[in-house]
């Protein structure tokens, strides 16, 4: 099914998507998307939605299952509080990408803004992934409580050069291509060596990400990464006393 979103408001657009999904459609192409927010919000299905254009904020928020492929850039917070499914963005994305995501995957070929993967969390079988081909701004993985963030730094000298990486992190891991300066780490984040074991564990994910963003994975399958993990699972345990 193909939808022409030219000049269309997000509510009727989402209604059309819902109706199509309810009637059994499993492949939707939306053309001429220009800033429509909330595409596929709260949608439960295994539908594949190809978005040609630039979707607005909160793409796939609360989404549980669908796959959204964006042929273009994306506004703020794609994958916000997402539960399950995949978002692949073949351009760059704004701030708070994968904010509070509990499950599923967000793959961005280009760069992302501030607070990427902030407060991502994992639970039970759910382990969210945010993978970025380019670079990110400050506060990557802040308050992170679970899941994996990978940044490859393609087209940049270093994967991340902004501060506050993993500040308040108390779960999950952040994998950054190359070495990262210690001063960029946030409070509660700890840098550890990326081992052969890590490579073995993460190779399938790195390969899948590269394939999805149409990049050759071979140059990225080595141990030239920095792994950032929580210094403690209780970052604020020592801050308080009782009355």
């Amino acid at each position: 099914m193909t939808i022409d979103a030219n000049g269309m408001h997000y509510t009727p657009l989402n209604k059309m998507i819902r109706q199509a999904v309810a009637s059994g459609v499993r492949e939707i192409v939306i053309n001429n998307v220009l800033g429509q927010r909330f595409i596929a919000n709260g949608l439960r299905s295994n539908v594949r939605i190809t978005i040609n254009g630039v979707p607005g904020g909160d793409l796939g928020m609360f989404m549980s299952g669908p796959e959204c492929i964006v042929r273009g850039d994306s506004e703020h917070a794609p994958g916000n509080t997402m539960d399950n499914g995949t978002i692949v963005i073949h351009g760059s994305a704004g701030d708070a990408v994968a904010h509070s995501m509990r499950g599923g995957r967000v793959f961005v070929r280009g760069d992302i803004g501030y607070r990427g993967g902030i407060h991502m969390k994992e639970y039970d079988q759910k382990r969210p992934v945010l993978a970025v081909g380019g670079t990110t701004h400050a506060f990557l993985g802040e308050y992170m409580a679970g899941g994996i963030i990978i940044v490859l730094g393609m087209g940049h000298e270093v994967a991340v050069k902004d501060r506050g990486i993993g500040s308040g992190i108390h779960g999950g891991e952040i994998i950054l291509r190359g070495d990262i300066q210690d001063r960029l780490l946030g409070v509660g984040a700890r840098k550890v060596t990326f081992t052969d074991g890590d490579l073995k564990r993460l190779s399938p994910l790195i390969t899948e990400f590269c394939e999805r963003i149409e990049v050759d994975p071979a140059p990225f399958l080595d141990t030239n990464y920095t792994r950032i993990i929580p210094a403690s699972s209780r970052p604020f345990a020592g801050k308080y006393t009782w009355e």
Binding site: Y10, T11, N14, K15, R18, R37, F38, N41, G42, R44, G57, D58, M61, F62, M63, S64, H76, A77, N80, T81, D83, A96, H99, S100, R102, R115, I118, H119, K121, E122, Y123, D124, K126, E142, Y143, A145, G146, G168, H170, G171, S233, R234, P235, F236, A237, G238, K239, Y240, T241, W242, E243
Partner: protein, 503 residues
Amino acid sequence: MSLGSVPLKYKISIDRDQCMKCMRCVDNCSYGVYRIEDDRILIDSRRCTACHRCISMCPRDAISLQEKPVDYRSHPLWTAQAREDIINQARTGKIILAGMGNAMDYPIIFDRLVLDACQVTNPSIDPLREPMELRTYLGKKPAKLEFTKSDKGDIELKTELAPNLKLDTPIMIGHMSYGAISLNAQLSLAKAVAKTGTFMGTGEGGMHESLYPYQNNMIVQVASGRFGVDINYLERGAAIEIKIGQGAKPGIGGHLPGEKVCSDVSCTRMIPLGSDAISPAPHHDIYSIEDLAQLVRSLKEATEWKKPIFVKIAAVHNVAAIAAGIARSSADAVVIDGFRGGTGAAPKVFRDNVGIPIEAAIAAVDQKLNDQGIRNEVSVIASGGIRSSADLAKSIALGADAVYIGTASLIALGCRVCGNCYRGLCPWGIATQQPDLVNRIDTDVGSQHVANLIHSWTLELSELMGAAGINSIESLRGNREKLRGYMLDESMLKVLNVDPVGA
């Protein structure tokens, strides 16, 4: 160098002539005040929190409790509390956390407001005889109604109405999460609101599956940690509330310590067992009023515009302007939580010093929304220190549509406001996850007590309205003419838009 101990907070004594050694005090005290040695009940008063569990269970009234049994040199500035906080911080170097609401002795505006009654010139109404309309609808009201007329002459409403919550009484129970309180406490509250035709909040902790039967009476909360939030949870709620702030701790986030995250709490919040549940201070996808509008609309879009969306803020200095911003965000109701709002744990310096009283906040918000001609765009829900039907009636007369009660509903379950919620040992089974303590609440009995409380206040509200010659809650709302200020200064009267007594 040792700072030594500070004096006992409470002293417990047992009248040995009255005591029959039934040991109920020993069994009931979860703080370990009592123990048995050589057939004698020994007392460790230092462990006492004044929760009154032992006193309420003693069949002979043999136990007495004295507060502050040891005097300090009295001083108006250097109170015992001030001295003891300094000693605590000199020892630890940490932020002091405390339970329950604001414990400072600020004047209570509610107690300086009096209600009106009819005499001679207009008759009062007897609620026994006349219908009293307390039904309250929360949500957007249309600015005007448009109708169409069919060929047959039938009139049909053309205006599309926004979804509203229908309450049989303007009393709801505020958001207290599973984790902060026990499942049995939540279940008791849920059964009570279902019985009385009103609503309760889930708090930020998801909805446990045993609450699903009551989901039509539950408002689900989305806070900055997004714990337990997925599309199923959003669809279950009768309404969705975005929590921006809380009266007990405006401007800061929440923090459920890992030791309280048991397996059931972990499933409901959707976080790993034993991990800290950290709610950041702001929502990191809301950095502006425009971002708030985006979250409100995102929640509406996800639930197909079928649910009212509330936005809860703490009452702070610019509450009126903030509420006016919220009214323009497509939100359906704004919840204002005053500085006396309760909490399981909050930094004491915030609990006691940040925010403004709910009375002033309601009046300021109602006035601002009216001035801007957008009062119909949002309902106003007031919370934070509502103790009685009088506080309820005064809140509505100041401009609220409904209130949330929190502490009052817990007192109906046994809470004695001891303020030790954060210790997880609540002997009343409310603020604890310890199964033996949680089982002290029988949810059928508990829910009846809470329902009785709501019913009593509803009856009293009808009587107060009848006496004032009002037969509909709509006519009381924002009706400042029914209030007079007693011993309030002129500037306060101006904020409240209320005349002084005698005027």
